[in-house]
Symmetry: C2
Subunit: 345 residues, 2 copies
DNA sequence: CCATACATTGTGCTCGAACACAGTATTGCG
DNA sequence: CGCAATACTGTGTTCGAGCACAATGTATGG
């Protein structure tokens, strides 16, 4: 039951602690037979180094840098800093310095620029949102060549060595579909993609696929699933036209956080019979959820994503824990009654 | 930016580190003027002790004991040990010894007996499920008089000094109501309490209150909310009768984890048009959720409750963090499409 | 045969906090 | 004045791991 120390092992092996240390850290200069004996002993008693002592001795200042979208440009990212703050407070016993670099989520140039600035901060590890596929891929290559561990969240850049935290978007589309299916009886449905200024195309396509797949799996389902792509600048007019063109509509699925645009219109045109499912707990979305215009929101939990990402990085630094290659968060279903605790958590 | 050590402060104050230490730990034997000066200095530079060093020096073995229902008697509790395991693994750097005492959730005597055994393990802190109100109250008094910090979860024993982790049950009833309201159009609803062998009466009553309050808040709602109390042993017959007596039924809310009993009957009698909302991700519930007999389950997340409870206790021991008096988990809504990640998490 | 290179092993200090104990100064009392 | 009690203050060791450096022992070449 007692925990063995290096000193204990030295006594057991009949050598000094220096030798044990050399074996553990493969620093050489140990006779072959002694090395074998010590290795055997270490595995026999399943030696676990005292990480408290190790950290005290090493006494390092860890530098973690983050490359994130600017919450001033898109409120979705506001809660990330809360999550990071929580992780930092849990590990306040260690000296961890954070440097956060915010880029404009509508501007790839800003992404590259902030990435360059980040490199100057000589980070031990990096937390980032690889919002732009092509640019992110380049940037990740660079980190890899510099041998810096990276943890990404929100956007999955496949075939990269970096670890990823996020949600299964296809499945999230299926969740939306199931919700829709349970609240509407018949009539047409529409999937509405409201383009953000930056491309979240992959996100939205995956969700659409999932949504459709749910209804395809149903035997005997025959109502239409319409589709509507709207550019950010022309949202209101195009939406109004779309609703006019499809009077039979009973359900709308908005594939990103812009459901409030649709909600606004539905409210002003008194089309409250149309069910609405969307994403993310933005202030405006929550307002429409509470007054019943939006029926369900799916929570992508950016706060938790940032929290976990930073936590994984820190645990790797201080405890040498493995970082999971991929970690998929549960898909939270939110209605007007359970929304409250999610706003703070 | 640099972190100050006791040695730094000693130099700044022009005294030795021994004196600084005496001031910090209020060990007396310090001249009044020196004490004031050091105190001022400490607060000026906002001294934070290096908790790594403190833990290395103290080098204590912490003993935490848990008093939990036996998962063999009720599968609901199975996942608690996973949560506890996760907390332990996160703090594996510290020497924390767990002793778990399992009681029969149908037997108050067993609760008391295991509590007595627990006391023999001389714990520093206690994690417990205060399942039986009266007995728990006594037991908590005893812990208090012994000056042992306790963290409770699942059942809230009001007016106790112990901290509590769980859900807002009233609100959880409202969530169920909102779900029900969104999936049924008209017809009668029923709240069904299926008594467990042990009393969860308070739980179920709170949920019922919440459920009703939601519909009372709706203007113009006039359908009936029926109520049915069933004892565990007579479940099937009484349920069958109840369904026969109320052919107009379109929605059933089961206030605990026993929804699968109702689901079984609905399936065998081909009454799939009746919507069903219940609690907890038991294997059987999940099966009926996936095949569509159960529409929604509310997840009380006992795994997370146990995880957080243990984590709070450990963080208090090793980092002297405060334990929140009450911590309410978000109320998770589960349907057939998002259930999967909740089963492991 | 001794000096030197080389392989191997042991010793001792460090990280920062905690605390026992030794040391110094001041006061009171016979 | 002297001696002890009291009131402070300073020193040194410990926790376990990591690492620099000292200290062994052995072999090789001149």
């Amino acid at each position: 039951m007692k925990k063995y120390t290096i000193k204990d092992i030295a006594e057991l092996a009949g050598v000094s602690k220096g030798t044990i240390d050399r074996v553990i850290h493969k620093r050489g200069n140990v006779a072959k037979d002694v090395e074998d004996k010590v290795k055997q002993l270490l595995s026999d008693i399943n030696y676990q180094p005292n990480l408290i002592a190790r950290n005290l001795k090493n006494n390092r200042i860890y530098q973690i840098s983050a490359l994130l979208p600017d919450p001033q440009k898109d409120a979705y990212w506001q809660v990330c800093s809360d999550g990071m703050q929580q992780a930092l407070s849990e590990f306040s016993a260690f000296d961890i310095r954070m440097n956060t670099f915010l880029f404009d989520p509508t501007d790839t140039k800003s992404f590259i620029k902030q990435h360059k600035k980040l490199l100057d901060s000589t980070p031990d590890m990096i937390l980032m949102v690889p919002l732009f596929y092509k640019e992110a891929k380049t940037v990740l290559e660079e980190y890899k060549s510099l041998n810096i561990q990276v943890c990404t969240f929100n956007n999955q850049i496949d075939a990269s060595a970096a670890s990823f935290i996020g949600q299964d978007l296809y499945q999230s589309g299926r969740v939306a579909a199931k919700l829709m299916h349970s609240i509407i009886d018949n009539g047409d449905m529409a999937i509405i993609h409201i383009d953000e200024k930056y491309k979240n195309a992959v996100h939205m396509q995956e969700k659409e696929k999932g949504f459709k797949s749910y209804f395809e799996d149903l035997k005997g389902f025959k109502d239409d699933i319409l589709k509507c792509k709207i550019r950010y600048t022309e949202t209101e007019d195009k939406l109004r036209d779309f609703l006019k063109d499809h009077p039979n509509l009973t359900g709308i699925f908005v594939t990103n956080s812009k459901a409030f645009h649709v909600a606004r219109l539905l409210e002003s045109e008194n089309k409250n019979h149309i069910k609405l499912v969307g994403y993310d707990l933005l202030e405006e979305n929550v307002r429409f959820l509470k007054n019943g215009v939006i029926d369900f929101l799916i929570h992508q939990n950016p706060r938790q994503q940032a929290y976990l990402g930073l936590k994984f990085l820190i645990e790797h630094l201080v405890f040498e824990k493995d970082i999971p290659g991929q970690y998929l968060l549960p898909i939270d279903i939110i209605n007007s009654e359970n929304v409250k605790p999610f706003l703070r958590a």
